[in-house]
Symmetry: C2
Subunit: 110 residues, 2 copies
DNA sequence: TATAATACCCAGGACTGCTAAGGATAGAGT
DNA sequence: ACTCTATCCTTAGCAGTCCTGGGTATTATA
């Protein structure tokens, strides 16, 4: 009930992650934190959703990863967007725009 | 690719159906057609998605159904929104609005 | 007499997000 | 020293819902 945060709609997490990585490589935890802070905690990215999503995206060639060290000296796996990932993002952005617009039409159709 | 029509995001079909039934009772097939025509065929409602969705909604008390006859003299099951369905719709509309807005923030966050 | 359009039904599978658990390290506070 | 919190990753298993692809039956149209 109530809780804080909305459940993500299936199919949107990938787009959000790709978009977040567009600004530069980040490790998973940072991706989650950034999405949450950007949305004022409205969207919560669960770790059990995020990491599997990152693995899927790497498998599909949309991101590549390497172990590195964070600002605070911690070991972390950094993800970098590939050119295929950029294409995928562009496609998903286009689809999202169309979809949201179409939903809007249905909702407004009096 | 492209195809015609976009895959629905999981969790949105119910809202679209409830909203479509807000104008008055309709049978399943008509609901699908209306959503499709309202969105210029951008959203395609597959029958294999629609009917199970209607059954779920009836089970949850958001709609009730009765057999009737269409304008064209065909037998069809008409679905009517209940007051609980209206509440549910209101909740889903609110969530959708928040969600879409939050997604927008992530996408615009340069 | 075909064919399309209308109208419903169902089994099966795929995908993806969640819960829930676990491990390891670093820093702050007491 | 000890505890607590925050950081960071990993995995197993479940639940929900949308799709594919098949099926039935009736009516209108060519």
């Amino acid at each position: 009930m109530g809780k804080n945060g909305i459940e993500l709609l299936r199919g949107t997490l990938g787009m959000l992650v790709l978009r977040t990585l567009e600004s530069g490589p980040l490790h998973g935890y940072a991706v989650a934190k950034r999405i949450q802070s950007t949305t004022d905690e409205i969207l919560t990215v669960e770790e059990g959703s995020l990491y599997p999503a990152l693995y899927r995206m790497e498998k599909r060639g949309w991101v590549v990863s390497d172990w590195g060290v964070t600002d605070t000296g911690r070991r972390a796996r950094f993800y970098t967007l590939t050119s295929e990932g950029r294409e995928q993002l562009a496609a998903e952005l286009a689809t999202w725009g169309e979809f949201a617009s179409a939903v809007g039409k249905v909702l407004e159709a009096g």
